[in-house]
Amino acid sequence: MIGEGLFISLHLSNAMQVVMLGLIGGTLSGFIGSGGAFFMTPGMMNLGVPGVVAVGSNITHKFGKALMGSKKHGELGHVDKKLGLFMLLTAFIGIRIAVWVNSTLFQLGNDSHGGSGGSAMGDLYISCVFIGILLIVSIMILIDAFKKRDQGEGPSTKLAEFCAKLNLPPFIKFTVADVKVSFWILSIIGLATGYLAGTIGVGGFIGVPAMIYVFGIPTAVAAGTELFLAMFMGAWGAINYAWAGYVDLRLILLMYLGSLVGIYVGAYGTKVVKEKIIRIVTGLIIFLCVISRGIAVPMYLRKLGYITIDQSWDTVFNGISKGFLYAAGISGFVVILSAVIKAYYRRMKIQASLPTIHT
């Protein structure tokens, strides 16, 4: 490792694994519309990258991608900049708090009692937040996917209606999104989005559903505005983590080699796969990622001296955790790729067998 245990030594094998992480993360990102951090952050931690560096590098990687994606959404009129700027006010505070917590825990881990802490304290904290939040997200996505919907029905507005009934002035009107939202609810959501983005590098899974279900915003505007937010949150997160010295530029470049290719595959996959299947695949992948992180937790507990198990078990736990993660990512990648190929042959078959019908 270079730099007091912060940065791993890169050789061809683990460099290719980082590129693969980027490729799979990018494919999933293009497919489900999130940044892919839910896969890439734990993936890097499995390679031995300290959690705080994994989050810092990922948030910087997200910044570059979001900068390009936001321009396109802006041209389509999907960005409510006023809403984005209001959320940014508290999101920035959330990120700052998250960076401080992660940095402090990383430092504390080096002073931990019992076993050799290292980055274990920070890794444990990041893993617990990851498991807690993404377990809820994956279950909600799966429930939503299997729920029967009325004709043409979109997302539920029960939460948005409840928040509107709370009547917490002052209210702010957003013309592009065509909603009126309480400043306090806006601030809480902004703070939560920023905190989680700064802690585990995952912002879209909180921000987009919050905008749709809590504010009642159309999905396209929520996605576009989130991308606009991600650009600034990514920049702010990158600045904060870089200031603390927790950004590995090499990992960012390697991830780009994969993610900027994978995103095309994933985006094409959305054209040929049904929305219900997209939701099921998304939910299952996230769930497997959560299990993967859960399996790694005993390692950190041992390093911090909270449990007593043989050190040789670390390799086993890490191996199984990695296995689950790659199983999640690769199976998702294979599902998308096979859907693309299947759709191609199905189209050929349909075109051959169903010409113009004379009525």
Binding site: I2, G3, L6, T60, H61, F63, G64, K65, L67, M68, E75, L76, G77, Q151, G152, E153, G154, P155, T157, A160, E161, A164, D178, V179, F215, G216, P218, T219, A235, A238, I239, A242, W243, G245, Y246, V247, D248, L249, R250, I252, L253, Y256, L257, L260, V261, Y264, K271, V272, V273, K274, A343, R346, R347, I350, Q351, L354, T356, I357, H358, T359
Partner: protein
């Protein structure tokens, strides 16, 4: 055949105006409420749609498919009236139901606030404050409803030919003035308009049938009709619905053929004359194959209504005769048939009208990835044609936020010019250099970015990071895009 649409404000005196105008002209009066009731009776849950739109927070994406079916049913019912009689439609922006149909007389009727408050106080027996609140609520609801359905501000005078304030003008005088205008050639529906209305009715009815059948109700389809040929475009994810679509539409009155096209996206192709032997047809088809797109053909002859435009004025005077711009053109039909054979047909529409007619004919611009324009303004000189085409392209791009290209630009999109190759090599080199810069100096870079000894230089390293990362992302992403283009999988 004639058509007048009236858009009314609440309690603005419109009902009496519409009745008098109807009697004066001998037109049939069709009220929005009549058509809405028939829509409700056909099984479409109109109240559910209204509540979803009008109840805050506005869930404008809910019931998106339902709103399509609602509009299709309203359109189909209105068209069926228009094809039988001369009609006055009294409702909310009824002309938006008939986007792209020229020669409609569009009237907005309004009354000032005092006039309306007095009307509400008198008819609903409310006090002044409650009357004002009632009017404001109805106005807000109407704004939301029209914005949801058509994406417009219905009060904008740009959407009307005449705006009448019944507070200032006596109803009888307003009726007399408008009757005179209604009888001019400009507002007489032509043979082309009649055909377009027929096509619109057929496409709308097909949409309703697909939307109401339990086997196909979840289909995200785009339907156009042209002289009995119904074109249904659907996304690849819904390929399994195709056999049911044929089954649902097989007994559709007026439909002689059903053509289904799988497409992930749509290309709108606007020309005055189509030619199956032209290079642009082959370029458009190549793009359609690459993008898995349906090509919607829009044949347009622009009528600007300028006084010194002799050719156009003559055309309008002879509008009941078959003009040079014949609605049937063998080359257009040939191009359409070739697209059907290739599996990329997205329908064919013919419009003879103004710029506004063409803009309003482009419903749902978000469905298009590209607009291709060429061979327009053929009656003009070469330089005028170039200028008008350029202006038209700019207007389309500004209005719909879409990429609009001509044939020479389309060719550029298909191939890599020398300049493109040069830029590609430049970007690839830059990406490689930036990559090697970091990886050949790993330890130095990481030490500079993270080591405590360089803490005083942290601002410089952050600035470098914030500039370097997006530059590399942009450079590498652009390089990848060009590589995909070279392999024709962009």
């Amino acid at each position: 055949m004639g058509l007048i649409t009236i858009s009314r404000g609440t309690f603005s005196g419109c009902e009496k105006f519409a009745e008098l105008l109807s009697k004066k002209l001998g037109y049939k009066l069709v009220n929005r409420e009549d058509i809405t009731e028939k829509t409700r009776l056909s099984g479409i849950p109109v109240e559910k749609l209204e509540q979803a739109v009008l109840k805050p927070p506005a869930a404008t994406q809910r019931l998106g498919r339902l709103s399509e079916i609602y509009l299709a049913n309203m359109r189909q019912l209105l068209c069926s009236h228009i094809l039988k009689d001369k009609v006055i439609y009294n409702g909310h922006t009824g002309h938006m139901l008939l986007s792209g149909i020229p020669n409609i007389l569009r009237i907005r009727v309004l009354g000032d606030m005092e006039f309306r408050i007095r009307a509400v106080e008198s008819r609903l027996k409310l006090d002044r404050d409650k009357a004002k609140e009632f009017i404001n609520n109805i106005d807000n609801e109407r704004d939301r409803w029209t914005h949801f359905l058509y994406g417009i501000n219905w009060k904008d005078p740009i959407h009307y030919d005449f705006t009448i304030n019944l507070t200032e003008i006596p109803i009888e005088r307003a009726v007399d003035s408008l009757s005179a205008y209604a009888n001019t050639d400009e507002f007489r529906l032509t043979q082309e308009s009649k055909k377009a209305i027929g096509n619109l009715m057929l496409a709308s009815y097909a949409r309703v049938l697909i939307g109401m059948d339990s086997r196909t109700r979840d289909a995200d389809v785009k339907i156009t009709a042209d002289d009995g040929l119904v074109n249904v475009t659907y996304p690849p994810q819904q390929a399994n619905l195709v056999p049911h679509v044929y089954d649902v539409l097989k007994n559709l009155d007026g439909c002689r053929e059903v053509n289904c096209t799988i497409a992930s996206t749509n290309i709108l192709w606007i020309q005055e004359m189509f030619d199956e032997k032209s290079e642009i047809f082959h370029n458009v088809l190549a793009v359609a194959r690459k993008w898995d797109a349906a090509v919607e053909m829009l044949r347009w002859e622009c009528i600007t209504g300028q006084a010194n435009d002799i050719e156009n004025n003559q055309g309008r005077q002879d509008s009941d005769k078959i003009s040079d711009f014949d609605t049937y053109d063998p080359h257009t039909s040939k191009v359409r048939d070739m697209l059907i054979k290739e599996g990329h047909a997205g329908g064919c529409t013919t419009i003879k009208g103004s710029y506004e007619n063409i803009y309003s004919a482009i419903h749902h611009p978000e469905q298009y990835s590209l607009i291709v324009v060429d061979n327009l303004f053929l009656s003009k000189s070469e330089s005028a044609r170039k200028r008008l085409t350029r202006e038209f392209k700019g207007a389309l791009s500004d209005l719909f936020h879409l990429s609009v290209v001509e044939s020479n630009e389309l060719k550029k999109q298909m191939t890599l010019s020398f300049k493109d190759k040069f830029i590609f090599i430049g970007r690839l080199s830059a990406a490689i250099i930036l990559f090697l810069l970091v990886f050949l100096n790993q330890e130095s870079v990481l030490t500079f970015m993270a080591d405590e000894s360089y803490k005083n230089w942290r601002i410089v390293s952050i600035l470098g990071l914030v500039l370097f990362v997006p530059v590399f992302a942009y450079t590498f992403a652009s390089t990848m895009k060009t590589i995909l283009k070279i392999f024709r999988i962009d």
